[in-house]
């Protein structure tokens, strides 16, 4: 767990005022404990990602929430897809093959419109 001071010290490019703004906008969600803001390892990594997007890739403050929302949706979708894949992977081999074949049929360039 890291406090705001720890984070600002650890990431040289990070401006304290920016971090405070991101917290207000809920781009990062630290935990409140006895009046102190604490960042989990995951939130710290998220702050690093936002720093990369903002300071290095020069995504401006107004666009940042849009990009992060898309990133969140991407990971959300991956979670669902991975649990779906785990369910498929738990099936018998012939069932797996049938599902792959059906995906191939739907996604392939040679897909035939059955309507």
């Amino acid at each position: 767990m890291m406090r705001v001071d720890d984070l600002v010290a650890a990431i040289s490019s990070l401006q304290r005022s920016d971090l405070e703004a991101w917290i207000r906008e809920q781009l990062v969600v630290p935990q409140h404990e006895a009046g102190t803001l604490l960042f989990t390892d995951m939130e710290c990594a998220r702050v690093r990602l936002i720093c990369m997007l903002h300071y290095e890739l020069e995504i401006d403050a107004g666009t940042l929430p849009v990009v992060l929302s898309l990133v969140d949706q991407l990971y959300d979708t991956r979670q669902r897809l991975l649990s779906l894949t785990a369910a498929v992977a738990a099936q018998e081999k012939d069932v797996q093959a049938a599902i792959i074949a059906a995906i191939e049929l739907n996604a392939g360039p040679s897909a035939v419109d059955k309507s």
Partner: protein
């Protein structure tokens, strides 16, 4: 560690702005958090970051150019990326989901499933097609002697099936790569053909031997004869010994089914069945009425008390 100029794709005389722009472009392309499914992205991004860290620092760049430090002099400590958490089981705070660990197998399965439709050229995944099974009714003589059959499947495809000599009922033949087509360049699945042997009107099979019941006339049985009998490989002449009876068994050596392992043929066993004349024979009737057998015969002796 590669040459940092090469890694960023800039010349040795590149300005700070050129280096920054090159890094920006590559970081967009390879930042692992923006490419969670791409296993190579992390390694590439680390190289790019290390090269950038070295070249953006004027003092380090001067010392590298002067040969005072090598390219690894600027490597950053191991960084845990956001995707390590977001793809992991702890991922919860920004888009609540029941968690599932990032799993190499799942990634591979996904890549495999979408190998055809994906926009990115993934590593090539070859998946074998599905196996298929068919039931093929075959005639007794086709399995006894072996045969080649062409069967047409419901979807219009034809299959060449070689029925091996001596195949057995319910035996399954495997036709390699005659099943469903594979994808991603993978081989087709196999076709399994189960033989259902139809019974023959007079041949019966027992292991490698063929049993057949052959009717003979009263005269042939009593006086002996040379008669023609069917075998699985065509008619053969056999000698019916004088005084043969219903139930008398004759053996034709090596006229049975060839054993697939030993190559030896079984035998044909002929059981004779004496038949009385079909039409009226008044002379025979007259003879029997006046016939007095030398020995009294009671064929039902053992059946009755």
């Amino acid at each position: 560690m590669n040459d940092p100029y090469e890694t960023l794709g800039v010349s040795r005389s590149a300005t700070d702005k050129e280096i920054k722009d090159a890094f920006k472009k590559l970081a967009r392309k390879f930042h692992p958090d923006l490419h969670p499914g791409d296993k190579e992205a992390e390694g590439k991004f680390k190289d790019i970051s290390a090269a950038n860290d070295l070249l953006k620092d004027t003092e380090k760049r001067r010392r590298f150019d002067a040969g005072e430090i090598d390219a690894s002099g600027a490597e950053r400590p191991q960084e845990r990326f956001y995707r390590d958490f977001a793809d992991g089981p702890a991922y919860a705070s920004h888009a609540a989901q029941d968690g599932f660990g990032n799993n190499e197998e799942l990634e591979e399965f996904l890549a495999r499933a979408f190998a055809g439709g994906g926009r990115r050229s993934q590593a090539e995944f070859r998946v074998r097609g599905q196996d298929v099974s068919y039931v093929l009714p075959v005639e007794f003589l086709e399995v006894a002697n072996g045969a080649a059959r062409t069967i047409t499947l419901p979807e219009g495809k034809t299959l060449q099936v070689t029925i091996p000599e001596g195949a057995e009922d319910r035996q399954t033949l495997r036709l390699k790569e005659q099943g469903m087509p594979g994808f991603g360049g993978g081989p087709a699945g196999d076709a399994y053909v189960e033989l259902h042997v139809e019974p023959h009107p007079f041949f019966r099979r027992k292991d490698d031997n063929i049993h057949v019941e052959v009717p003979v006339t009263l005269r042939e049985a009593a006086l002996g004869a040379r008669i023609e009998v069917p075998t699985i490989s065509g008619p053969v002449t056999v000698t019916v010994p004088k005084g043969s009876n219903t139930g008398t068994t004759l053996r034709l050596r090596d006229r049975g089914i060839r054993n697939r392992k030993s190559g030896q043929r079984g035998h044909q066993l002929i059981t004779l069945k004496v038949v009385l004349p079909a039409a009226e024979e008044p002379e025979l009737v007259a003879f029997l009425e006046t016939w007095h057998p030398k020995t009294q015969q009671d064929p039902r002796k053992e059946m009755l008390p």
